[in-house]
Amino acid sequence: MTFAPALLRLDVLFESVSLAIGLAIASTALVAYRRVGSRTLLLLSLGFFITSFAMLFRVLIVAWALSELPWRGPLGGFYPISLIRLQEFVYSIVRLSGYLVFLYLYATYPLTRERIVTGLAPAGIGLIYSPLFEATAALILGYIVYQLSRVNRSGVSPYTGYVFLGFIMLLASHLLFLATPLSLLFYLAAHTLQMFSFLLLLASMLTVLLHGKRLQI
């Protein structure tokens, strides 16, 4: 009985860290867009803002629901659970929208020149419930990981390694979310992986901005 709320508190904490990292990456990409006017950077920023917004929404709703403990809604203890379920649904849609932005970005502006037209576009259609959201998210992330593996192998950028690993971890986190019905530990592990994946993306961004090549003319 007390395990689930404790788990939720921990996942709100992890989600808050991921949210802060997501916002930092989104803001940096937005600043970059405003300075050089590249559409790639705008879309990258948009993708991270959308996923961060989904996290913010979830953190606020779940934190509020937890603050209302013991749960006594208009229908006894049912109300907050319904609210959290509704929140999960909205969260999944918003988050998936962010991943669709990433999908478009990696399909349109990959660093390696060859592009692959995939049949992933219809994947965003016909989503009804949460496991399907997770599966679709995993499918989209699988494509991004594939694109990044090609870039990573080509060695064009020395900093792709962290991002590649970050997206692999994000993909793994969605697979773990899928496995949540088997054990709540998968759920916690998924949130932990998600947080570390965002940390890797942040590390990559900071490494480039601090130690990247500078203009030499």
Binding site: G37, S38, T40, L41, Y106, L111, R113
Partner: protein, 91 residues
């Protein structure tokens, strides 16, 4: 085969890099470096002069020099190009 799309930001950077590599840049040399037709280059040069990234040298021959603002843009572009590259993306 997919056409390799070049963004406007990249074209600006290619032109600025070409001008920066010369003391006084001639359009014909910039055309070659930035891989642009004369008409397109003329439009871009006009825009870059309007934005204060390039300056046209006074006198008979059509020559350009890069401004401090142009150098700053080019430096920022190189920096964020690498940022996007780390994410496996091109700007």
């Amino acid at each position: 085969m997919v056409k390799d799309y070049r963004s406007k930001a990249r074209i600006y950077a290619d032109i600025l890099a070409s001008v920066a590599s010369q003391v006084y840049a001639k359009p014909t040399k910039i055309m070659l470096d930035a891989n642009l037709s004369y008409d397109r280059l003329s439009r871009y040069l006009e825009t870059l002069v309007e934005k204060g990234l390039l300056k046209r040298v006074e006198g008979g021959e059509r020559l350009y020099v890069i401004t401090e603002k142009g150098m700053k843009y080019l430096a920022e572009f190189k920096r964020f190009e690498e940022f996007a590259a780390a994410f496996g993306l091109r700007v």
